[in-house]
Symmetry: C2
Subunit: 286 residues, 2 copies
């Protein structure tokens, strides 16, 4: 049913999606567009896309499905540009890391009579560095791909069918689909994704200040240190939009961890330390 897909943003996720669609047997056309010109030829050479689109809006018009694979604010910009340009038999979907503002824009601009459909999506996959060159057809295999669809969405029969077909392709990529409310999504990813990232960033930055002048001493920390600071390599450009669009949830989880660390610090010599270790052990056992 989906004959033509436009991938707007051929970075790590967009290019991986193209590669994974091909690996899963998608036979239709895939066009790609990218703001930084060096990324699109890489995606083309890798076989993730068949052609490079000169104009993002134009290629979106000609496609059944438009996948927005750019940072959150760029997704919202595209949503605003595409809404008046697309007919009702089109589906726009995305891979944005936060969903509250995107779901709100979808309700305002899409999913109503005469407008295209929008299905907010978020694959929980990535690497600590972006870019088409690191793309991988297996990136979504075994990963969770969250959709935060609106039960009140009004769609043409054709675009509703496109949404069902897109879910089918996501399952075919090997991802495990989870449906969540957008607000619950943003709260949950603050705990299980944003908190681990910001902790690793804070820990890495602190260690750079305190022991960074003696790089050979990093060897002393071994595997534990390397693992706990790996996400410290994540670029700001990937996380700025997340910090701006999920601020209240991230503030809450960081504050909760600060309090937990203080509790642990105040109980290094009391039985409460045992309780903390046992509670942590339970998290890993399940």
């Amino acid at each position: 049913m989906i004959e033509r897909i436009a991938i707007l943003g051929t970075g790590l996720l967009g290019t991986s999606a193209g590669l994974a669609l091909r690996a899963a047997g998608f036979k239709g056309a895939i066009t790609g567009w990218n703001r930084s010109p060096e990324q699109a030829p890489t995606a083309l050479k890798m076989g993730a896309i068949d052609s490079i689109a000169a104009d993002a809006i134009e290629t979106a018009r000609e496609s059944h499905v438009v996948l927005l694979a750019v940072p959150v604010f760029a997704i919202i910009d595209f949503m605003e540009q595409l809404a008046p340009a697309l007919g009702p038999d089109r589906l726009v979907t995305d891979v944005g890391s936060t969903k509250g503002q995107i779901a709100a824009a979808a309700a305002r601009l899409y999913n109503q009579p005469g407008r295209a459909a929008f299905l907010p999506g978020h694959p929980m996959a990535g690497k600590e560095q972006g870019g088409a060159a690191l793309a991988d057809a297996a990136l979504f295999r075994g990963a969770v791909w969250i959709f935060t669809d609106d039960p009140e969405a009004q769609r043409s029969a054709f675009s509703a069918g496109l949404a069902t077909a897109w879910r089918g392709w996501v399952a075919a990529l090997g991802a495990k689909i989870v449906d969540l409310d957008a607000a619950r999504h943003d709260e949950l990813v603050a705990w299980v994704s944003h908190l681990p990232q910001f902790v690793s960033t804070a820990l890495s930055a602190l260690l750079e200040d305190r022991v960074g002048e003696a790089p050979e001493l990093k060897d002393v920390g071994g595997r534990a240190l390397r693992e706990m600071t790996r996400l410290g390599a994540s670029p700001f450009s990937m996380w700025r939009d997340i910090a701006h669009t999920n601020t209240a949830n991230i503030e809450a989880v960081l504050h909760a961890l600060e309090q937990r660390l203080a509790h642990l610090r105040e109980n290094l010599r009391t039985p409460a330390l045992r309780d903390e270790f046992e509670q942590a052990n339970r998290f890993r056992r399940e």
Copy 2:
């Protein structure tokens, strides 16, 4: 020169040391003793030791080198029991995770005329679970093995030779020897080893409280979450003595991280967030 080694504590580190010594070509006798009886036969079956000693003090008397591979407080107990029992041509060394109290006990009880030599050691290697069954001859390959020797130690020529020979064996295991002052050791490991552990414990315990009731949602966090909470599986029994013997340093590093997280939380929408990411990136680049 070393003909007989006694390993007191045939858990993960003690058994791995026995296996690694054999793999590196040590031809002398290795006896093993363990408080929990089930661990010593495992070490024997794996070939890490040649025989199980019924009495720890007795086997120590008969050995050139005694390796104390038990938690810190148990090391200090052994140091007190062994000091009056051993002659000056003996070397006692250890694998304890903190060195301040051990170095102080060494100065008080060893390294003086008529007494055995003590060389405080700390291999920066381990796993999140202990026990002989997980022992590995390659555990120390590429790992740092810290010594916090006392430049004022007074030793017999023979026991000084044993200390040199033991360093040679540690190098032969594939470890990278680093010499540090005991106080500097404890400060440094608070940053690069204890802080990552306690952060992972606090993060895992907090997540167990907040999202633990929905285990399938852990999939959402993916690799980043798994890595940042792996150390959450570490048992309290391994960390209690560390918390008790390096309390002031651990309090200081935890407090520093609490402040860093608060700074990050207060700057989620300011340019300071970029600075934190860039500082973290620098730590990973070196």
